[in-house]
Symmetry: C2
Subunit: 406 residues, 2 copies
């Protein structure tokens, strides 16, 4: 920065923003690729599964002469398809309960801003989707972590664990099930406990359900929409990114039966005018053809999960439980510092001209010092690649520990 | 709301958000249409000009199997095209000076959040693009208006007018030129005055230049990027919405030569992952073919501006100056309350089964009581429609005043 501008000050929230633990190592990966090293990306939840052809066809079929603003609440055909989708899941909604957002990210930002002011707190089971921190920082709010544990498969914390962290500043409990980054699926009794606790304490309940379909071995991901007794305090945040393997579409939604709240969130929506039009047309087509797609995709992910667990089990000292959902697993690994290890895998290691990129665990914790020995693995690659990626990870751990014992 | 949830409290910022003055009358327009009344939409800057065929072709040509996350800073081909576009305008940038955002809306939100904390203030010439208020509210910051006047063609306020409103809480001056909602184009000396004032007072300078090409009668819209002496304090916010008649694309960008600031803004970008992928591909194609499109579009808008001014001049008591840019005009009209009038035009008036929708002026002011007799007109319709729409507006004013004199 030039002398002329030493007076310039960025905001406190700018300084408080963390660089994405999922993306901050990307420059190192780029350099590895330049050196000719292939990188298996297990760091980011970017599936390799083809987006449904119906979505792509709908995009190509977009024939409007003017690529115009859509309604702030989202285009009606998409809201109708989302309503139908939830109807088929047993949840009766009207289109007015649905606000289309620019991906799940915007849904979370709008929800936080609608219910909290600077300094307010939101309880979140930890580890949690790292960007919750970023969104809370943008809203000048604070994520208060409620611990879950690798050895317990990151099961939902008990009522007491939440209760003892509720203060006069607490505005909501926010959770994600099936969970990113742990793969845990909360039981129905967990969701009911959270609803009852929020009712008792006058809190909002925010549920991130973007991995709804990703539940294995017959597990069911219960929705916050089942909490009919607490319907006014429930805000659900959703996205087509994972469901349709369409992360680049940036189409999500907020669902709530609380009309006053929906009215508020629409005001945020009006300020940013509308979500992207063409991608909404694509998403609507996706919902029209969801059944067959999900039917083939979920067994594929279940198989991948099994492969990852099988290969991780071969790593001496790795600690994990087989997760029931999403497409992540967060093993504890025999490494001194997951951050250093993940970077080293990109800068100093290769096996047969390939390496594996993982997301360091600490970025998924708000509690300092936690996650130091954990990494998040997204099992988003094809069977053979995935197996190879974990095997390379195993070799990397060995080499890393050998190199750092000297 | 049910008795069970009386304890639920929305945030102060939720209550502070204003409903969009551009969009809040939409339900009344919908009802009018249901009654069979055609509505000329002069309320929203949604051009009727066809989006360049090259953009639509690029969208249809999107052949990736997976609609994947893009980079948080935007896809490289688009950033390169934006760099080339600015090169052709005489501004040398690198792709690292460019962060693609989900429309201009997100660019403004990121810029505000990067430079301000709750309670901080931003000086903005008034009237201003109404959503600045919304974005500031989301960031818990405050827009401090600096008045401009219809009789002076809403020219840039003097240095003194800004100076006397700078407090210890002031973090930036934000302006829009060519201006939405007034159509004013700031002179080079205005932009230089703002740069010098910001340097003197240690402020950031935020410039919304989404209407850059929309300058008439040979006027030139000077860019904040010309302020090379103050390059570290300048943040430019841009969008393809108007330039390519592609408002639904939701593709914009932030431009700054301040690397530390770009690093911060990228952290906000990483939190929301990426802008929509397909629409970025379309936007890149737009920039590759911008010249011929702009060459045909700008004379069309100049003609429309002339028609609007010609027809407005026939309304007794209308006060305005012919604006030099953008595609808006903000006349003062002989009506007691622009809000009541705009609603009445939709609920109680029609002329030959048609009516005209305008945006009430007060929504573009932060100062209470201002804009009561002004409306914003977006001249985004074809010649014949536009003339008819203003003629209907004139008849509406007459009928409204007759009805309300009783």
């Amino acid at each position: 920065m030039s002398a002329e501008s030493r007076d310039l000050r960025q905001s406190r929230r700018a300084h408080a923003m963390q660089a994405s633990p999922i993306r901050r190592l990307v420059p190192l990966a780029d350099e590895a690729k330049k050196r000719g090293t292939a990188v298996y990306h297990l760091n980011i939840g970017q599936p390799d599964i083809a987006t449904p052809a119906e979505i792509m066809e709908a995009v190509r079929g977009f024939k409007d002469e003017v690529l115009a603003y859509g309604p702030s609440q989202g285009i009606l055909p998409l809201r109708q398809e989302i309503r139908n989708y939830f109807h088929n899941l047993g949840h009766e909604l009207t289109v007015d309960d649905i606000l289309v957002t620019t991906a799940g990210s915007e849904a979370i930002i709008f929800a936080l801003m609608a219910i909290g002011d600077p300094g307010d707190e939101v309880l979140v089971p930890e580890p949690f989707y790292t960007n919750y921190n970023g969104f809370a920082t943008m809203a000048d709010m604070k994520v208060v972590p409620v611990p879950t544990h690798a050895a317990e498969g990151f099961a939902c914390p008990t009522r007491e664990e939440f209760l003892k962290r509720i203060t006069s500043k607490t505005r909501a409990i926010m959770y994600c099930s099936p969970n990113n980054p742990t793969g845990a699926v909360f039981a129905r009794k967990d969701v009911e406990m959270l609803g009852a606790l929020c009712a008792e304490k006058g809190l909002w309940l925010l549920a991130d359900e973007v991995y709804r379909e990703f539940a294995y071995d017959g597990a069911v991901a219960h929705s916050c929409l089942e909490l009919r007794d607490h319907k006014d305090r429930v805000i659900m945040m959703d996205s087509v990114s994972k469901r349709f393997s369409a992360c680049g579409a940036r189409v999500g939604c907020l669902v709530s039966r609380n009309r006053e709240l929906m009215h508020t969130m629409l005001k945020f929506g009006q300020a940013r005018l509308c979500p992207p039009t063409i991608e909404q047309v694509g998403a609507a087509a996706g919902y029209r053809h969801i059944e067959s797609f999900i039917k083939s995709m979920i067994p594929e992910y279940q198989k991948r999960r099994d492969i990852v667990c099988e290969e991780l089990a071969k790593i001496p000292g790795a600690v994990f439980k087989k997760p029931a959902g999403a497409f992540y697993i967060m093993p504890q690994l025999p490494i001194d510092d997951a951050n250093r290890f993940a970077a080293w895998m990109l800068t100093d290691f290769q096996h047969e001209k390939a390496t594996t990129m993982v997301a360091p665990g600490d970025g998924f914790y708000a509690t300092a010092g936690k996650g130091k020995h954990e990494v998040r693995i997204a099992y988003v690659l094809k069977e053979a690649d995935l197996r190879k990626a974990i095997q390379i990870l195993a070799k990397g751990i060995e080499a890393y520990n050998a190199a750092h014992k000297k």
